[in-house]
Each structure stands twice: as structure tokens, then as C-alpha cells.
Amino acid sequence: MSVFKFSAPSRFYHLAGNLIPWFAAIAVVLTVYGMYLGFWVAPVDYQQGQAYRIIFIHVPAAWMGMFIYLVMAGWCAVSLIWNTRLSSMMAQALAPTGAMFTFIALWTGAFWGRPTWGTYWVWDARITSTLVLLFLYFGFLALRASINDPRRADRASSLLALVGVINVPIIYFSVRWWNTLHQGASVSVTSAPKMAEVMLMAMLVMVFACWAYAIAIALHRVRSIMLEREGHTDWVRQLIAAR
């Protein structure tokens, strides 16, 4: 059995339907556990006070905003190279969730910045490049919405997504390349974490919760996109007739 058989929308539709409840359940369980760790187990930060607890959603949301964009751009590349229907549908389904996470990262960052830095907003490299990421998501969605022919919309939005992917490493390395108010990475794969173990644990649990949520909601959305775009096909007719 090949995994490529699921690249057919008719098969992926049913697979996605089976996966959604699992990822939704994982997201709920991990969110409850992450919040419990973050709000009840983790102690108050000696410098930042209670407000530091915002990082348990701010950091996962910021990571998800970047990660979803990379995944979206990956699907766009597949769509452009192999001209597959499912890949462009997946990119289309991921974009609103990526935009939502990027917005949450900016919003929560502002409310963390106020007590920590004394300001809601500053035009530093990390924050500004994250705002550019949000605009890239908006641009992707607006471009898709402005073109009636889905295949043309796929190609145009894929190109935009691929050009915009350059912004992701800029966001990530901005705190190293420029002198920013935003602090450097507290968690890195190459060095030991600069935060207490229980705080790191709560943050990582929330990261996995956000992943599970993003997968569940994107699968839910891609099923609707499949129905919209494949309404003329036999498998959708059979599906509707069987309801």
C-alpha cells in the first residue's frame, strides 16, 4: 500500500475525516495539561512576575506562525512542480490558521512587552518581520480570493508563498543579525535551554497542543475546500448521495 494513494482528494477526504477527532482530542488534552503546568506548577518568575506566563502561548504561536508558513510553502512548491490538486488545497487550508497564530504571537507579544519592556510595540527586527509574515499570509489569502479560476489562483498564490518564504529565516535570525529589543532564543537545538525545566516543559506541551490543533483545523478546512472544488466529480456526487 502506497501513501501516494492518499494524494487523491477522494481518498484523502475520508482519511482526514478519520484523523480530525484524534488530533482534536490530543489538542484538548495537551492544552489542559500545558495550562495546568504553566499556571499551577510553574513558579512565578523572579524578574518578570506573573506576566511571564504569557510565553506559554506567545512562543508556541510564534513558532506555529513560522512553521505553518514553511509547510504551506512546501505544499505550494509541490503544487507548482507536480501540479497536484491536493497540495494546493492543503496550502489554502493552512493559510488562515497560520495567519491566526501569527496574529496571536503579535498580540500576546504586545501584552508581554508592556510589563517587561514598558511598551506594547517597538519597530525592532523580530517584531517587524513577524508583522511582515502576517501581511504575507493576508496577501496569500487575498490573492487567492481575487482570482476566480482555482488553477490560476493556485499558481499565483504559490509563487507569492515561495517568494515570501525568505522572511522566515529573517524572523528566526533577526535577533542575531541585528541589535533588537526582543531577546534571543531561550530554546535552541544547539545549546542548553535558558529557562527552568518546568517552564520549558509547559511551553513544549503547549507547542504540541498548537500543532495538534493546527492539524485538526486544517484537515477540517481542507475537506470543505475539496467539496467546493470537486463538486462536479463522481466521488462528491456519491458522497452527497450517501448522506
Binding site: 491566526m100 510589563p115 475537506r223
Partner: protein, 67 residues
């Protein structure tokens, strides 16, 4: 006093997360309902007339009566 201010920042952050997730879930459910409705309409338009010859004849009769 400081804790109260921090509570506001935390509530504003997590409150917006809850609002954003609710909006996204509602939008996804609405889109699903709309997509299903659209697919049902397309299926109804493309479906052959039910009842075979008799339905065709019935349609023909209606058409001739109208003319």
C-alpha cells in the same frame, strides 16, 4: 497591585486566543455547511431525471402544456 496589572495582561492575551479560536472554529463550520450545500446543489443539477422515461415524458408534457 502589580499582580492585578499582570492579571490584566494575561487575561488580555489568553482571552484573545480564546476569541480567535472560537472565530476560526465558527468560520470552519460555516464553510463546511456552505460547501456541503453547494455540493448538494451541484449534485441535484447534474443528476439524471428520476423515474427514467416517465419523468422525461412528464417533463415533456409540462413543456408542451406551457407552450
Amino acid at each position: 497591585m502589580e499582580f492585578d496589572r499582570h492579571t490584566f495582561y494575561i487575561a488580555a492575551s489568553y482571552g484573545m486566543v480564546i476569541v480567535a479560536i472560537i472565530i476560526e472554529m465558527l468560520a470552519v463550520r460555516r464553510r463546511r455547511a456552505s460547501a456541503l450545500q453547494q455540493a448538494e446543489m451541484m449534485t441535484a443539477i447534474q443528476a439524471p431525471p428520476t423515474g427514467g422515461k416517465s419523468a422525461t415524458r412528464a417533463n415533456g408534457q409540462v413543456a408542451s402544456e406551457a407552450s
